[in-house]
């Protein structure tokens, strides 16, 4: 999708799959010179701390490669679980759905071009 990559997680993430995703995604960012990554996790119903950390590290990796990451479509139950696990994922941008995620990405990239990308640590 233009300068954005869209990753849709359709199956339950297990650890091996998560690592493959990291590999693929970083490769694709470089290949397509993407500036934004949307990770759609609306089909994800179960999360654990590993997935939470994986999402955070994907966001950091993407940031290193000059791409902003937005996680979209999180289920309410998943959000509650992550918070209860003590993983509020502060470094990650979130949005309700893909459409809002695109808007958020555009804003984030604009901000980044202005030299103000302080929200991702």
């Amino acid at each position: 999708m233009g300068e954005f990559l869209l990753v849709t997680i359709q199956v339950d993430m297990h650890d091996r799959l998560a690592l493959t995703l990291q590999d693929d995604l970083t490769g694709q960012i470089v290949k397509h010179r993407a500036h934004g990554v949307l990770i759609d996790i609306s089909a994800l119903e179960i999360v654990d701390s590993f997935i939470g950390r994986m999402l955070a590290s994907i966001a950091s990796m993407a940031h290193l490669l000059d791409a902003e990451t937005v996680v979209v479509g999180m289920q309410p139950a998943v959000a509650i679980t992550l918070v209860e696990l003590g993983l509020p994922m502060r470094g990650i941008r979130t949005a309700l759905d893909v459409e809002k995620g695109m808007t958020a990405l555009r804003t984030a990239i604009l901000e980044g071009q202005d030299g103000d990308s302080s929200s991702i640590r």
Binding site: L82, A95, L96
Partner: protein
Amino acid sequence: MSNSKLPEVFEKREQEITDQWVEQQQATGRKLTAAEREEANRQSREFIRSLKGALRKNSGGGISGPEWAGVRDFLVDLSSRRAKDGYSPRETASFVFSLKQPLFSALRTELGADSKVLADETWQATLLVDELGLLTTEAFQKTREEVILRQQKELLELSTPVVRLWENILALPLIGTLDSARTQVVMQNLLEAIVQTRSDYAIIDITGVPVVDTLVAQHLLKTVAAARLMGADCLISGIRPQIAQTIIHLGVDLSEVTTKATLADAFDVALRRSGHKVVRQDAAPSGAAAR
């Protein structure tokens, strides 16, 4: 109880017992309106009828036997209805207990000659009435408990409404103390409402929260974090001066959340962030009445 004279006596003296009993109830109970008295009369006669049937078929197994089902159902229904209508436990129980006196006097009239049989029969009758009385009280209590449970549930739902203020702004006025159970409900309601209304901003108003301690603050922060994971920005409003002091004294860090003193201020911020602008429409044609 199989060779008891009680059924026999009861059958013979039914009319007398019923009349005395009704009289007794009206004498001991509270003042009733004409309609209530009529209703009590009808209930008493119905009860006597089903009691008579059960006594006749009685096989001696106490009131838990199948032949007593009619009597049990009647009593349970009666006392649960009375519990809902606000009768006191005493009034409800005395419905059954006031049966004792007419019953005993009927027994005395019938069996007065043989004091041993009379004592036995009286004892049996006491047991029976006591059992029925206990049943009534239990049913009464149970209905009361059901009412309390239902009210608790309603209170929980009532106290966590999510209000839509604008097309993408939600408000969550919290009233009462926040404990873990309520935080769960609040969080769930809020997140579901965010999905439903596709809102970008949620304002948590804590004007009605009497006390904010570290636990409550933690619950608030959790709610904010969960809403943020769903892509919604949270603002906290309605922080009273005392609560601001407590929060700082406790060392709770709310610096990552936008906080405002009033709901109006928070609403204003949310409107501006979502690109809206509120302007006063001046009707005056001279125009320049700026604010």
